[in-house]
Symmetry: C2
Subunit: 338 residues, 2 copies
């Protein structure tokens, strides 16, 4: 089988690898009708996160169960399933509390940029859809595996309530789906921070009411202007850099919340600054497993269409070009067809 | 009039100062039947916070209105009033949102370790009691001005809910009143971290179910042991040091919250650590003004007795000894009688 392996900064290869096989009784093998590249894959691709050796890439997935380990209870071969980027048992205290990405047994899922993959702890991790989705819904189902759930968590962590004023820092797929999530949660005003026309357009389609093109201090000043000097109730930080976090914290009203889902790279928060600003911060790897049942329903009912973030489709063999397009911001998110 | 002035580290003087006078139309002058020393007064007293010049000390107060400025509406001479350590207009967007300590006009209140003091923005800041409290209730009313409201905010910021498991870092007056607040909010289990017998005893009186004497990593390990490896739902950080904050963050379960009210001194939070722990943090100067009406009611109804934190009473003229006793941890909190 040919699959995607990252060897080092900007060195993505599509090459022969052993076909995935059941290693543990709790594994499942699934066949992937589509797969994709995540914004977080760009951290190691850009060399910002070290690559210790060849890494099988891809942690977003949905598809058909082909084979399951012995101790399987909930999922059967032939079913269409979606899982989270972290495998979880869904029975430990953290899972039952709704934080499956802090599962006491959590295991990263790898190797999804391939025609087939192995999912560990699959009974706890995978959610089967009632029906097999039509082909045109599959990109939206695929988006639920990470970016849509992550945008949703950003909005939840930022405490978005009906009528709220929300600002979104970051116009990648997660930021855009954070806009969509805030819309679903009833936000009245959603300010998307973006300087790219195609992303601005999608943000508006997803419910953004205002676009701010300024960044850093100027971006904060613009948010303050738009909110009459008060600040936003909820700010979604969907980047993971110090600059983005500062922008988020400084755009939040006293008593308001920052929800952050960009994996923090060198981000530190000054205790005294947060204290005197009265800003709540909460984030982490999105507990996608918790949201999957509801989000699958929203996709089937056509209430959300998160697959709209895929603006480039390539054959899987051209995965390296998919990375380049996202790295150069020519594409928001690349869909790959095995 | 003689009042308390801090000249530098460990240099507290009780000396002649000009009597307070109405400077602005929004000022009030109040007479203080009791006053007290705050744990946060120890930061400059210990030289950890620089003292730029002689500073009139004391920001906790309750007492009788003697004189009011021209533009007064709500409070009349003769009334018994309590205010917060920050004056606020109670009309700006932040005040209306419940964060009066982030008031757009906020002003620190100074000079309360004295027989009389001036309160700025007094219409927005002071809350009059329906009746004049009996003498024995006055220490509890005085505690509402800061430490009780601060403990309450710590519990609220840490999202304490009925049935919750709560840990409290810090056994000063605020930590102890955090225990009392968590009890009032229906926490089922309250773990107080303290190694001082008299404080442990008061913590138990206020509702603590467990006492942990260990600190740092050992303290965290003990909390984990007591919560079967899960961590606490809510942790109140009532100190303000890096060690205390780390202890709080590490004792919290994924999806749980740290409420922090110790003024942070050199505290930084690592974004990636918080992210992968799934810990929410929120804190700041407690919006005491918001809580005052309810807390005054609880004191009148004898539902809470926060004045129990005063374990040393001295004549105001001996204020320097009051500081020493708290600095050496001989006293939890010193009550001063002008």
């Amino acid at each position: 089988m040919e699959a995607t392996v990252l060897y080092g900064a900007r060195d993505v290869r599509f090459e022969d690898v052993p076909a995935p096989a059941i290693l543990d009784a709790t594994d499942a093998i699934i066949r992937l009708p589509f797969t994709c590249i995540c914004g977080s894959d760009l951290w190691p691709y850009r060399g910002i996160q070290p690559v210790p050796g060849p890494v099988p890439m891809g942690h977003e997935y949905c598809g058909f169960v082909e084979e399951v380990g012995r101790s399987f209870k909930s999922v059967k071969p032939g079913q269409f399933v979606i899982g989270s980027f972290f495998a979880s048992d869904n029975t430990c205290p953290h899972c039952r509390h709704g934080y499956q990405t802090s599962c006491q047994q959590k295991t990263p899922v790898l190797g999804g940029q391939a025609p087939r993959m192995r999912v560990p702890l699959a009974d706890g991790t995978l959610v089967a859809t009632r029906d097999v989705p039509q082909d045109d819904l599959i990109p939206s189902m695929l988006a639920l595996s990470d970016v849509m759930g992550t945008g949703w968590f950003a909005a939840e962590a930022a405490n978005v309530k009906p009528g709220a004023t929300v600002a979104v820092v970051g116009d990648g797929a997660v930021g855009l789906l954070g806009v969509l999530s805030a819309t679903q949660m009833g936000a009245e005003r959603i300010i998307a921070m973006s300087r790219h026309e195609s992303r601005q357009q999608l943000a508006r389609e997803f419910g953004a009411t205002d676009i701010v093109t300024e960044r850093g201090e100027e971006g904060v000043a613009r948010i303050m202007e738009l909110t009459r000097g008060v600040g936003a109730d909820s700010v979604l930080e969907c980047v993971g850099t110090q600059e983005a976090m500062q922008q988020a914290v400084q755009s939040t009203r006293p008593g308001g919340s920052v929800g952050y889902v960009g994996v923090p790279h060198g981000v530190t928060l000054d205790g005294a600054d947060l204290f005197f600003r009265h800003v709540r911060v909460f984030g982490g790897p999105a507990p996608v497993r918790r949201y999957l049942p509801d989000l699958i329903g929203l996709v089937f009912n056509a209430q959300i269409n998160p697959g709209r973030v895929f603006d480039l489709t390539l054959p899987l063999a051209q995965v390296a070009e998919g990375y380049r397009a996202m790295d150069e911001r020519r594409a928001i998110k690349t869909l790959l067809r095995p």
